[in-house]
């Protein structure tokens, strides 16, 4: 029986200030109730060219993640960017987003952002900082000055740094990215004699063998890989694809794989060797069985199979995999690294730290990096910084490095400055600002300009243009406009190189280590910790265990038994402590702790009591802790979880049916489809019949959902959904309109996004005493917020429990709302009501988007063209799992999906006739019937 989430008994204590404020607010409200307060209209002074009040305008731009650019489209209303969507032509966006892009819009308005340069003597203006820099930097030609940045792919910024170096020969630029690719590069170097980056063509892969690799997991490539993978799975023209996952801990890729087995990361070489037909040494029995199956498939799929090893594996493993892929003719490309810096992340940081300790670094300038938090503890980076007389941290948010530095200076959000960046495949695209810097921040280019003060003052816009002048050719102005509109710079993708024959490196089978180790994957919601300040990201459930606001240490049942711990017991290991979560599918002898939590100086939202995985990182880098012991403590702590994970067994399996490739639902459970039945809401009577009204419906293909949460956060951004904080979650409350249920079959299971089902016979409607949930002629079931009195009867009677109640004034001023600061409310979507306390709310199929589309169609006197309305979740989905539209019109894609043999409705036997329906998940494990 699935586990129930126990809400915390902790009582809610209103702070005095808050009490006063709320009382005041209450009083004000009661006054306003009677008399209408004067409401000003403030028209502009000058007519704006072509701007229409309240209209959404779309601008292409680029958002970097760990230096790699991902195209995005900013939705701007009355000069305020309120939402980010995908950029159609950008290879790392493909018109969709991931959770990180969606959450970035909140960062722009986040009141936690640094506001003014702050020096040893407190707040100091930019001038004071500039003077300080001039005193320290140019004096000795930049001698003893170190510039530490994250990964930089921006041609303009690289050129700018190179230029600075010319004037300041002593200036030393160190690049360090916490989630590094050292092993891949070193591996490629071993195999081919030079560092290359592998780009797997998942679109062409019939067989995918993942060894401790998570291509569908978080990262700059998630969207591209996810799309390619889902395209391949949709492609019926070739044999059904199959994916094997050998991994230490359950990942999105593992869940989506057809065959999965838990594997200790140290045993990956053994599996690799066995796959290559060599002596793989020893391995657990279930692994060897799986390897045998994989080998058979590998033999059958030569030229169409890819073997991927994770970033946590040592170089020789990567090298061997490179050789193996080459020998089986795998569909992979090799490109010159997009990040031109040849040095290894770990080594270069270690070297810098050593020099700092030895006092060879007089001035440290950290630009958009957080080494104090990220660096392995062995480097003692914080102490090293103390040795440097001057240290300056350019950062958007307060962080560990900024608080350790003598100077901290606010850095712009990508939506505030000009720039450019390269995608992981090399494609360059422009970053264009949507607003002036909100908090007087300066861009990275300007920051370099301050270091290299002697250089001529050229603003970012001019610099970026100058950078690309070469490509512009005849009409630079026109070329520039086109590049901005397109969102990419054509023909900048890195072209594949022929790596030459890889020599098979010597790889020896390992024997399973006896001591426990902890694997340290990047967090699916925090990435490397840089999103920890973001309330949306904090409240976004981990795809695997559904934890929010904190992480637990994932253990296998066997290890937990051995250690005598159970869920929520706090354990101590390698100097950190974390509560335990027993996770099915976890390899024995391996614990897993996602990175990016446990920030110590990230502000009120980031700084949560949770374990910091970077404390476990060996000085040599990598993503596996050294062998350590795990001791039980006497304490317990429940990590807040947004929802339960469902063991799909017995009758529950009906909620998430699995089918074999090419098969449909069994006739037995072939569920009633809406198509063919009349689609006017039957309980609404003839009054509702509107023959020409569109009938909205949605189909979600669970077969390609990778549980990435892009839809969840997109919905939050689009619909003004507040974050409510860990305490409220602990009490079993949440506000996400769209949740992603995870079903656990012994073989992995899958993800099932659950928005409102928009039932035609909605149980919520007849039970409301004031008729706040109503049905529209277009088949929408909508909550009328201003009519709702909060009886909650609708949710009580909703079989899908998709309605959300404002138990408190969540949207009002509170820590998770806007920190009593108005700036966050600037992000709110003006077309969506901000819900008051005591009101029930829920998914609306983005009614505001439907209305806009219909009004525009009206204005132009034409009917809605097919696929002309996209809900926020649909637009975000990297794998196109969500399709939406008018199911009474066969020209819309969604209508055809309603005819798919895999089509089924959730809890259809209740007769609610949902408009949101699903396609069953296809599992090609050779066992699933039907």
């Amino acid at each position: 029986m699935p586990s129930l989430r126990p809400p915390s008994p902790s009582a809610w204590d209103p702070h005095r200030r808050e009490v006063l404020r709320l009382i005041a607010a209450g009083a004000a409200a009661s006054l306003a109730g009677c008399s209408k307060p004067d409401q000003p209209i403030v028209p502009a002074v000058h007519d704006a060219e072509g701007d229409r009040a309240g209209r959404v305008r779309r601008y292409a731009t680029t958002l970097p993640l760990s230096g790699y650019g991902r195209g995005a489209t900013a939705l701007v209303v009355d000069g305020r960017p309120i939402k980010l969507e995908g950029s159609p032509r950008h290879p790392a966006s493909l018109d969709s987003t991931d959770m990180f892009v969606e959450a970035s819009i909140l960062d722009l308005y986040d009141p936690q952002r640094l506001r003014a340069p702050q020096g040893p003597k407190g707040i100091g203006g930019w001038e004071m900082l500039e003077r300080t820099l001039i005193e320290h930097v140019p004096a000795r030609g930049g001698e003893g000055v170190a510039l530490l940045t994250g990964r930089i792919t921006s041609p303009t910024l690289l050129a700018r740094i190179a230029e600075a170096k010319m004037r300041l020969p002593g200036l030393r630029h160190v690049r360090y990215e916490a989630i590094d690719d050292d092993a891949e590069r070193a591996g490629a170097a071993m195999a081919f004699g030079r560092p290359l980056t592998m780009r797997p063509r998942l679109r062409d892969a019939d067989l995918l063998i993942l060894l401790d690799a998570d291509p569908l997991g978080p990262g700059p490539d998630q969207i591209a890989f996810g799309r390619a993978w889902s395209d391949r799975r949709r492609n019926r023209s070739r044999r059904a694809p199959r994916a094997y996952a050998f991994e230490p801990s359950l990942t999105a890729s593992g869940i989506c794989a057809d065959r999965r087995v838990a594997l200790h990361p140290a045993l990956v070489p053994n599996v690799l060797l066995a796959l290559a037909g060599r002596d793989g040494g020893e391995a657990p029995e279930d692994v060897t069985r799986m390897v045998a199956l994989a080998r058979a498939d590998l033999a059958a799929a030569r030229g169409r199979a890819i073997v991927l090893v994770g970033r946590g594996q040592p170089p020789e493993v990567h090298a061997f995999a490179a050789w193996l892929n080459q020998s089986i003719g795998a569909p992979v490309d090799w490109i010159e690294p997009v990040d031109p810096d040849p040095s290894g992340h770990a080594q270069s940081l270690a070297a810098l730290a050593r020099d700092m300790h030895d006092g060879r670094v007089a001035t440290l300038i950290v630009l958009d990096a957080n080494p104090v938090y990220h660096a392995p503890p062995a480097l003692g980076f914080a102490e090293a910084m103390k040795r440097a007389p001057l240290s300056i941290a350019f950062a958007a948010f307060p962080d560990e490095t900024a608080s350790a530095a003598t100077w901290r200076a606010p850095l712009t959000h990508p939506l505030e400055s000009w720039g450019d960046a390269r995608a992981p495949d090399g494609t360059a695209s422009l970053i264009q600002p949507m607003v002036k810097p909100l908090f007087g921040a300066r861009s990275p280019l300007e920051a370099i300009g301050m270091i290299d003060a002697a250089s001529p003052r050229i603003d970012d816009h001019a610099r970026v243009q100058a950078q690309w002048r070469g490509r512009a050719g005849g009409d630079p102005g026109r070329w520039w406009r086109d590049a901005l509109v397109a969102g990419v710079i054509e023909g900048t993708a890195a072209s594949p190189v022929s790596p030459g024959g890889a020599k098979p490196p010597s790889l020896v089978p390992a024997r399973p280590p006896t001591a426990m180790i902890v694997t340290l994957p990047p967090s699916s919601t925090m990435w490397d910790g840089r999103f920890a300040t973001n309330a949306w990201a904090q409240e976004c459930p981990d795809p695997i265990v559904k934890e929010v606001w904190a992480s637990s240490l994932r253990l296998s049942a066997a290890d937990a038994k051995r250690l005598g711990v159970e869920d929520s017991d706090i354990v101590r290991f390698g100097g950190v402590m974390a509560p335990v979560r027993i996770l099915p599918g976890q390899a024995e002898g391996v614990a897993t702790l996602p990175l990016g939590r446990g920030r110590s100086a990230g502000g009120p939202i980031a700084t949560a009591a949770s374990a910091d995985g970077f404390r476990l990182r060996p000085a040599s880098g990598g993503f596996v802790s050294p062998p350590l012991t795990i001791e039980k403590t006497d304490w317990r702590h429940d990590v807040p979880t947004a929802q339960a994970i469902i063991e799909a067994e017995g009758p529950l399996a009906d909620h998430f049916p699995l089918v074999a490739p090419g098969k449909g639902m069994r006739p037995a459970d072939k569920l009633s489809s809406l198509i063919g039945d009349d689609i006017t809401p039957p309980d609404a009577g003839p009054d509702y019949a509107r023959p020409e009204a569109p009938q909205w419906g949605m189909v979600i293909d669970t077969s390609v959902c990778i549980g990435c949460n892009a839809c969840v956060v997109a919905c939050q951004a689009e619909n003004n959904v507040p974050s409510i904080g860990a305490d409220q979650i602990m009490r079993g409350r949440d506000m996400h309109w769209l949740r992603v249920d995870r079903y656990e079959h012994e073989g992995g299971g899958g993800f099932q996004p659950v928005p409102c089902m928009m039932c035609e016979k909605a149980p919520c409607e007849p039970v409301c005493p004031v008729e706040a949930p109503t049905h529209t002629a277009e088949g929408l079931n909508l909550q009328v917020y201003n009519r709702c009195i909060g009886t909650r009867t609708c949710q009580a009677n909703c079989p899908y429990k998709v309605r959300r109640f404002n138990f408190l004034d969540y949207s009002g001023a509170n820590l998770w709302g806007d920190l009593d600061d108005g700036s966050v409310s600037a992000q709110r979507n003006p077309d969506v009501t901000v819900r008051a306390r005591g009101v029930m709310e829920k998914c609306t199929y983005c009614i505001q988007r439907i209305e806009t589309a219909e009004h525009d169609a009206d204005a132009e006197g034409r009917p809605l063209p097919p696929d002309s309305v996209r809900t926020a979740c649909q637009a975000a989905c990297p794998t196109r799992a969500i399709s939406f539209g008018d199911i009474s019109d066969p020209r819309w894609e969604v209508t055809n999906l309603k005819h798919d043999p895999r089509h089924y409705a959730l809890l259809d036997y209740l007769g609610t006739r949902p408009r949101t329906t699903y396609l069953a998940r296809v599992v090609n494990d050779g066992e699933t019937e039907a």
């Binding site: 009490r731 079993g732 409350r733 009195i789 109640f805």
Partner: protein
Amino acid sequence: MSGTARWLTPPMTDHRAITDAVAGPIVDRRAGKAWWIAFLASLAVVLAGAAAAGLSFEYGPGLWGNNSAVVWGFPISSYVWWIGIGNAGTLISAMLLLTRQKWRSSINRFAETMTIFAVAIAGIYPILHLGRPMYFYWMAPYPSTMHIWPQWRSALVWDFWSILSYLLFSILFFYLGLIPDLATLRDRPGSRRWRRIWGAAALGWQGTPAQWRTHTRLQWTMAAIATPLVCSVHSIVGLDFAASIMPGWIESIFPPYFVVGAFFSGFAVVVLMAMVIRRALDLEGMIRPSHLDAMAKVILASACVMGLSYTTEWLSALWTGEASSLRFLRFSFTGPYLPFQILMLIGNVFLPQLFWSPKLRRNPIALAVIAFGILIGMYLERVQILTNSLSIGWLPAMWTLYVPTIIDFLILAGALSFWVLLVLVTARVLPLVSIYEVRALAEEAKE
């Protein structure tokens, strides 16, 4: 003769004695220490509860244990519980009147009294539990400038009407019975101010044969109306749940089963009060062991009916073999709420079985204890009706436990003490036993 003697013992066979016994505490005497202690104690708790309710109005239902899945908590279960109690008073006095139960005359008055208070308190909850209580009146049909009306399909609107009509009816019925006694008080020597108040309330009752005839006819008619009304009220409350699609709620047995439960818990309160009053007001002569015996028998009978309806619920789940019902059943017997389930069964079904022994049936302590057990059992039942169904709905992803907060408990305690407070005050201003009806009983005794 002997038929009536079972219900009254001298001196309670004499008119003046009866009148003095009942009216005395009100007219001739001042409240004693015990009364004041009880009064102040309950007042204190009431204030605490009021504060808790105030906080809830200020901050919202977020202060309670309710969560995304278990959206209903203590307020609703309390509501159902209080309504249930409220049912009994009128039901008892009306049905016993119709069935010519002589012993009724000693208990009907305070049964009716507590009914009114219970229903009044119950009526507060549906408003208190709202997210936006200031708009509660939208549930009432009135020509608003919005041109919209309540949702007639919603059981909550039916509730609104049944509660309202029942409250009004109970007040009338209670008042009707009160009139002759008010006159008695008016005509007794005592403080002039109070006599004027009673006198005004007595509507100039003279006790002429004509008035008596009308009075009796009216009382019988209302009694005849009362019985079906009472049943309808709690059936409709039952429909709040039965008219849904949640496992454990969607059951045709709910309406009758709620009515029984209501009568059951209400009667328990009457018994409890009877035990207190006969000691406190020295009315042992009017509320005699034979009364206790009769009441105990009623409890025993209804306890059996409760047990029956529980088993019916379980068996029907087993018979249908429908997955969700079975899951629900398994949950209530293996889930984390099991202790409460057991307590409920003990209080509502097993404990009352003690009344098979005649000795216990006549033992006031036993009656008080068991009645108390029933009240607890019934409250737990009301709570579990909510939590069991909502904690394990259709989709496991949202399965969530319910844990009430301190605020929940404060409001609960506050409501209980408020009820006690009202009864205490009433005891000082109105006769808690129907003087004229006891007199009539005494008359019969004479013949």
